[in-house]
């Protein structure tokens, strides 16, 4: 293996950049998996670092809107399930940060870019969680959207990312199930609970549809990501899958979909939605969403307040290592 790998490396060195890229793309076309030590075009590496960082940040920032209801969860069972869920998301973030490190960037560097605002995270986490029903909606819709995206990414061309997704998807499915259970309970509950569910659904429906990104013709990264085998399906394809799945589900719950233009198109066999309010999406991306400032501030505060703790831990580790060396 080592020799084979070395042999290929030497051969690759002798090639022109153009030829290397061509070879690389044919490996992608042949559905080969790319591993960290292998040669890759700089663009491929950049796109992966960007996407995986965003993904990891989303897991970490995503803990906040849901964490907001941990202290007010209405039953012991729900409280325990919610803490476990938010803890899972921390684990996902941790795991993806490690996967980004295989591309030669340190976790600290990646995390610093979140804190200084130069890296993005999913716009969905800049919306407030104002009722308990939001915890159900996030599980059902936000985790649901994440699953569609991540199931695709589990087959992406970069090995460490694909493997991380495979592992994470199992937990996301459980989150979605819990979310649906919460929504289902509310929809079968008291009049106040039903109203709570509908009010929450009205707020989350459109933002979750935007989670799949801009329409294909306007998405500047999609073509390249698909060429690199990082994305296997376009934004619109994934979004449509989500819509078809959840229009039916919403109807089963007895929820009204806040879209007067929604209709079932017999010809295509798909549900067609009205216009997505993209202006809102751009505002949130620009930092003008309802909670952008709060989310970032919370992470900055935790980072600042935790500084002395991390310093203590590394000072102690150093002292201990020195003591051991003396023995």
């Amino acid at each position: 293996m080592v020799e084979g790998h070395f042999g290929r490396t030497t051969r690759i060195r002798a090639m022109s950049e153009e030829q290397r890229t061509k070879d690389f793309l044919s490996r992608i076309d042949a559905k080969e998996t790319i591993e960290p030590k292998e040669w890759m075009p700089e663009r491929y590496r950049e796109q992966l670092v960007r996407m995986m960082s965003q993904h990891a940040h989303s897991e970490i920032v995503g803990m906040l809107p849901e964490g907001n209801w941990i202290t007010r969860a209405p039953s012991l069972r729900r409280k325990i399930a919610l803490i476990a869920k938010v803890q899972d998301e921390a684990g996902h973030g941790h795991y993806i940060y490690s996967a980004v490190e295989t591309l030669g960037v340190s976790r600290e560097e990646v995390y610093r870019k979140l804190l200084d605002g130069s890296a993005k995270y999913s716009h969905i986490f800049n919306y407030p969680t104002t009722s308990w029903a939001d915890i159900g909606m996030i599980g059902w819709l936000v985790d649901g959207a994440a699953i569609i995206n991540q199931t695709m990414l589990a087959r992406c061309s970069y090995g460490p990312y694909a493997r991380a997704m495979l592992r994470i998807c199992k937990e996301e499915n459980f989150h979605k199930k819990q979310g649906m259970e919460i929504v289902s309970r509310l929809c079968r509950g008291t009049a106040a609970q039903k109203a709570m569910a509908q009010e929450s659904f009205d707020r989350w429906w459109w933002p979750t549809l935007m989670m799949f990104g801009l329409p294909d013709e306007k998405s500047k990264n999609t073509a390249e990501l698909m060429q690199f085998g990082i994305k296997l399906r376009s934004n619109d394809e994934l979004r449509q899958r989500f819509i078809d799945m959840n229009v039916k589900q919403a109807q089963e719950f007895g929820l009204t979909i806040p879209d007067p233009d929604l209709y079932f198109d017999e010809d295509s066999g798909h549900w067609q939605i009205g216009p997505i309010p993209w202006e809102e999406f751009f505002e949130v991306l620009k930092g003008n969403g309802p909670c952008n400032r709060e989310r970032l501030d919370a992470k900055i505060r935790a980072h600042e307040e935790g500084r002395w703790v991390r310093e203590a831990a590394s000072a102690f580790a150093e002292k201990r290592a020195k003591r051991r060396a003396k023995q």
Binding site: R72, P74, L76, A90, E311, A312
Partner: protein, 266 residues
């Protein structure tokens, strides 16, 4: 978990039955309130790893509380349900110790609170796990494994903070002094515990207390920290339903959704 094999029916046993219930509520309320406090860290910890660790400990405590409340309900349907016990009692009905209702403060305060708490339960469960009341012994045997992990985790942090930087040492020492007045309440057997001890020798308070103090001395000296010299205990006492302001504040948050919809199922 099997139900209590010691007979507690009949008029002659009403007082010991009540004592057992109160003792179980003390443990359960401790676990609920501390579990809740620790969950407030979720998403705000100093590192992702520590965020996950504190959530784990929180989950263990909440699981313990749920399990004990359910045992109470099993033995006496008048309690209604575990959720009723957690979400529909007022602060003056809670039997948790004052230590657990203290706010998280900085990380040092959270860790010191955990060490004070977990060390007590570690030695208590050690004895309870072989006591004659099966409800207690079964529970203690299971919970002891969890508590020993909590104690190890918090104890390791005490070493890091004490023997880390000047700042961490100062913060750890301040937390040790600040929370010390609430330790006495843990070590002195409550009225309920005293009745159970007199009747069934459920545990030996002096053994727990001396093991506890010895453990703390060893840990703190290894961490180059000092055991507080002052012995002035807090006049508050949760076992006697005399709480600090923190508990009612905590409950008003924790119980808000449940109480806004008293007839709802979740």
């Amino acid at each position: 978990m099997t139900s209590n094999r010691v007979e507690h029916g009949g008029a002659a046993h009403t007082s010991s039955r009540k004592a057992l219930d109160h003792f179980v509520l003390e443990i359960a309320d401790d676990a609920l309130v501390l579990g809740h406090r620790l969950s407030e860290w979720c998403g705000h910890g100093p590192t992702i790893e520590e965020d996950i660790a504190l959530s784990n400990i929180s989950l263990d405590h909440l699981g313990q509380a749920q399990c004990l409340y359910e045992l109470l309900v099993e033995n006496d349907a008048n309690y209604g349900s575990a959720d009723k016990l957690a979400f529909f009692r007022d602060s003056f009905e809670f039997r948790n110790c004052i230590l657990v209702e203290q706010e998280n403060g900085d990380f040092a305060q959270t860790i010191v609170r955990q060490v004070y708490f977990s060390a007590y339960y570690y030695f208590l469960y050690e004895q309870l796990s072989s006591c004659p009341i099966s409800l207690l012994s079964d529970f203690a045997a299971k919970a002891r494994k969890e508590v020993s992990y909590h104690l190890r985790h918090a104890g390791e942090w005490i070493l890091r903070l004490g023997d880390g930087t000047t700042e961490s040492k100062a913060r750890a020492q301040a937390a040790i002094v600040q929370l010390w007045p609430f330790v006495e309440e843990l070590l002195a057997p409550s009225e309920a515990a005293s009745i159970l001890i007199a009747e069934s020798q459920v545990f030996e308070p002096s053994t727990v207390s001396s093991a506890y103090k010895q453990y703390l001395e060893t840990l703190l000296s290894e961490a180059t920290l000092e055991v507080p010299s002052s012995t002035a205990a807090s006049p508050l006492n949760g076992r006697q339903l005399k709480h600090s302001e923190h508990l009612s504040q905590l409950l008003s948050v924790m119980q808000s959704t449940a109480r806004a919809h008293p007839d709802a199922l979740w």
